[in-house]
């Protein structure tokens, strides 16, 4: 990954997050900016992008107060707007290339996905702004989160589209008509027979009973496909998206193989922190020279970068572990990851167990477990009560699974979306590239 390629990407796309409630006085405009990509763009350019966006939002609000503008098509650029939270806007500016026709809706979904994932891990941006009115907290979180989200994998081959990172090779790969037979924000389900489905439900019941009386949730996946969950639809989509990005066997193996490259990506990120400094006020100086998160920790900003690559690994006991959430001060045991549920606004521990293709994610309310010790006990219980069952379920599912091309319909490229249930199914990515026949069926 060279500087030049970085530049390529920056020319192709700009992404910014700004808060309309900030910096409303003359001379304070920089305060609005919560995030800007590429970060090394001159401040004046950043400000002009945000100024234009703000102007458009304010203007269109006159006519449509509830739903201001969604997209502005300029001669050479498209501006995609997404109001993630009240007065917090995300704007993506993409260059119109001759051959690329952007699916604006898909781009909006990218923005939405970034935001919902962010909220899942950090809570709402507004809450972060309120906690630290200087804006340092939310900027730091947003910066690392979105950079991780966009960060590149050099080694990603075109056949591995299924991992949803955007940077393919050296260029940010955004969804366009040509190659994106997938619908962001939907689930890909595994089709299972009745008996297997009952086995899975039986396993789920056992897992949930391990947590005792507390209401907990689970999400069962096979390879990159969802098998069962009892989460609300919106939380399911979020957690599923994250799992496909970082937790499934495929994601884990990518993480392992591209370990060295992701290191490079990290440093690449850090080289560009400079831009952040300029507009983030006094707090920014604290992490100007930071090569890792430690200075932030000193300032009570426990920096968590859940989208960091290759941070998850499978432990000996079958549970997936990561030190993203830091380590316990007294022991080397990593802190158990937590997320926020959108539906119930509860903070939950994530416990992920993996056996071959099967990944089971269990969510337990933080309030009901007594810290790391409780988690360890729970893990023990799961191993005792459910590991055999998971073995059986995995065996049964893999017996019934037709491989990654199972849902291929020969001669066709298709994308099937069930908008009611947030489910989609598409031709397998491997097949999509080899097919020349353009027979797209869009149902939405």
């Amino acid at each position: 990954m060279g500087v030049a390629s970085e530049k390529d990407a920056s020319e192709a796309m700009k992404l910014c997050v700004f808060d309309l409630r900030r910096g409303q006085t003359e001379g304070q405009e920089l305060d609005k900016i919560l995030f800007f990509y590429p970060a090394d763009l001159p401040l004046s350019t950043q400000l002009s992008v945000i100024g234009l966006s703000e102007g458009l939002v304010t203007f269109t609000r006159i006519f449509s107060p509830e739903a201001p503008c969604e997209v502005i098509e300029a001669e050479r650029h498209s501006h995609v707007f997404y109001e993630a939270e009240p007065d917090i806007w995300m704007v993506m500016v993409v260059e119109k290339e001759s051959e690329a026709i952007w699916r604006v809706d898909a781009l909006r979904r990218v923005l939405k996905e970034v935001h919902t994932l962010f909220v899942m891990f950090h809570g709402s941006a507004r809450a972060l702004v309120d906690r630290d009115p200087s804006g340092g907290l939310v900027r730091t979180h947003l910066y690392y989160f979105i950079m991780d989200f966009l960060s590149a994998f050099e080694k990603r081959s075109p056949l591995e589209y299924c991992c949803w990172d955007f940077s393919i090779g050296t260029k940010l790969q955004l969804p366009n008509f040509r190659d994106s037979l997938k619908e962001r924000g939907t689930l890909q389900m595994l089709t299972v027979g009745r008996e297997a489905a009952i086995e899975v439900q039986s396993l789920v019941a056992v897992l949930e009973s391990c947590a005792g009386d507390t209401l907990c949730y689970s999400l069962t996946m096979f390879q990159d496909l969802l098998v069962s969950t009892n989460l609300s639809p919106i939380d399911t989509v979020n957690l599923f998206t994250y799992a496909v990005l970082r937790l499934t066997p495929l994601a884990l193996s990518h993480g392992a193989s591209s370990w060295s490259h992701s290191r490079k990506a990290d440093t690449a990120c850090n080289t560009s922190t400079g831009a952040l400094l300029l507009n983030s006020g006094p707090a920014a100086e604290q992490y100007y020279n930071s090569s890792d998160a430690s200075p932030l920790l000193r300032h009570n900003y426990p920096l968590v970068r859940p989208l960091q690559h290759s941070k998850w690994s499978k432990g000996k006991d079958g549970f997936l572990t990561t030190d993203i959430w830091g380590r316990d001060v007294n022991s080397l045991v990593p802190t158990c990851p937590t997320i926020w549920l959108r539906q119930t606004e509860e903070k939950m521990y994530i416990l992920a167990y993996q056996h071959r293709g099967l990944t089971v994610i269990l969510l337990i309310p933080v309030s009901s477990v007594s810290g790391e010790q409780g988690i360890a006990m729970l893990k023990q219980q799961i191993l005792e009560n459910a590991s055999l069952k998971m073995l059986k379920v995995e065996e049964r599912l893999s017996r019934g699974w037709g491989g990654e091309n199972a849902y291929h319909v020969s001669g066709y490229r298709y994308l099937l979306v069930d908008g009611d249930r947030y489910i989609s199914r598409a031709s397998p990515p491997g097949k999509v590239t080899t097919l020349t026949k353009v027979s797209n069926f869009y149902f939405s």
């Binding site: 009745r194 009952i198 439900q201 039986s202 056992v206 009973s209 069962s228 969950t229 009892n230």
Partner: protein
Amino acid sequence: MIGEASSSSHSCFSGSNALSHVYIQYPPLRCHVPGSRSLFYDDGNKLILSLTSNQVFSWKTAPYDPNVAPSSDPIREGPVLSIRYSLDLKLLGIQRSSHEIQIWNKESGDTFSQKCRPESESILGFFWTDSPTCDIVFVKTSGLELYSYNNESRNLHLVQTKKLSISWYIYTHESRLVVLASGMQCKTLTGYQLSSAGIIRLPKFEIVMAKPQANNNPSLAAEDVHIITAYGRIYCLQFDRVAMLLHCYRFYRDAVVQQGSLPVYSNRIDVSVVDNVLLVHQVEAKVVIIYDLFADSLSPISAPLPLFLRGFSRANIASTQTASKASGTSESDLSDTEVTIYGDQWDFLVPDLVCDISNGYLWKINLDLEAISASSSEVQLILEFLQRRKLEAEKAKQLCLAITRTIILERRPVPVVAMIMDVLLTAYSHAIKTGSYYKRIRAEETSQSGASNVNKPKPAVNDSTTGIDASGKFIKQGSESGTENESYTRSNVPTSDPDGSLILNSSLPDPSIGSERGYLLEPGTSGGEDLPAGPSQILGSGNNQSNSNVSERHQNQVTSSPATSPADLYSSVFAQVEEEMARDGSYLVAIIVEFLRSASLEKLKVHPSTYVLMVQILARDERYAQLGTFIMNKIIEPSKEVALQLLESGRQNLQIRKLGLDMLRQLLLHHDYVLLLVQDGFYLEALRYARKNKVNTVRPSLFLEAAYASKDPQHLAAVLRFFSDFIPGFSSSSDHHMYRRIAAEMAS
């Protein structure tokens, strides 16, 4: 174990004493007649015989009925060493001395004697058999002599002899097995099985006994060896008085295998088998220990507890006294004599009777399933135990259901309940495969229709049996009755081992099915017709269920299998606990999922009401996502009931309602689907669908009303036009006129 929720189903159980697992029920069968000299038990015919100087009185003991009236036959005076009726009850054999056996033909009144050479041998005993080659077997000190009875010449022909020096023998008709002891210490045992399939010689085997002292070799006594049958297997139990152990041997066709030893806590013991359960009576300790030999496990079912005399109270005595006076029997009353449990005069009869010789009482030993199940915390074991019970199948079934209910109400961990579901449904599927479950249904059918039920859909395995059951009556003695036994045993002993064990699957009657009943109920003997109905008779009639074609008694509550069907589990467990579990829907759903898993493993069909219940619970808890998954994966199988429940529950959630509509459509319930569309106001879509799927059962007026309600004259006109075009004669109907007018008014 028995929770409050189960109280409704418990009314039928009589109060049980928690301090005993085995009981005898008052009143006993009184087999005492004035002037009687001695009592004999004819186990071939299950008769208790009492002798006076010139008469023999006999009481049927199976089915057991304490009020059964004796029948009597005259006999000649003289000493009687043993006495047995032939299996068709036409001949009476009396051993007069160690050299002479008299045989009296009841029909002709002839008597003849069979004697042996007194100088060289003596007769140890005799018994009748249903073997095809011989009718009666004499056991002599020199060996076995097998005779057949010739009807015409009316005497015995020697068929075969088996030479062997015999010290003593034991025989039970139940096992058709005679065990002969020979050798200095009588420790060498030889067995012959004389069944309707022929004669099988079992390998000789040696009993090893502990020696009290170095030079003292005790000899084995006949009373220390017992033959028992359980689950169609034959065991030999040998009491080692020195080691205080009861050694257990199992007979196979080609081997005798020692199974282990049971501890003994008394110098005098005896054994009974009730419903395939082994009871070891520790007579001196006055307790009984229960073993279930099914899984070859030699651990007791529960702790040693005394035998309990049930229903014995002053009030009871008074009533039975009047009753007995009314019925004209004058016998000594229990009020005068104390009932001594495990008295010295108690004689244990095969398999489950005990005779108090001094008082002339015959008791039947019963298991208190309720107490047994209440005393064990091993739910899985106790359910398996109950599922193997046949004598009190209905009670065992109710207990199983009650236990399951309690377990669920106690919120035991899901895996525990899953295990229970596995046990119950495996047993049920087994009962269906072997046909024993359908026995009950058949009994009900025959008692209602009395006709043959061959046409009824039944598992193929069982149809042939049914045919014999329903039409065969009771075939005459001899080889033919053997075939009947065969079919009985095949279909009714699910426990029959495929390992070549000596289970006598050709002739060995399962005690609970009791093909001997065939002999007992032989028309001509005063039979079961006088069996009174009443709570105390459930056992008796239960024992008799397969004979419903012979004696048309009401037997609706009778069953031969405690198996709980999925429908039973729904109605007696899920539906009942559902209310109390209202706050814990997810637990109950988890339980039902386990139930479905077990059912699908056994390929059993689940009643739609179970699915309806699941939909109700999930919708009530607003777990719509999960409900959706269940429907999509067909964990909840589609049915009209489920679809309607989805529509009902879907009032709060459109997704769920849509699932219900989809299900209706998938089930091709076009009529209901169209009706619902109309009700929801989608009358145009309903029309399109009706046209496409040729639904013409929905009244046009419904569509017209819906169109009218939408206040769109064009739509109304379109609907009118649709019906005029596609329904012949619609233009002349009153609907047409009325709505045409309305449409015109609306348009104007």
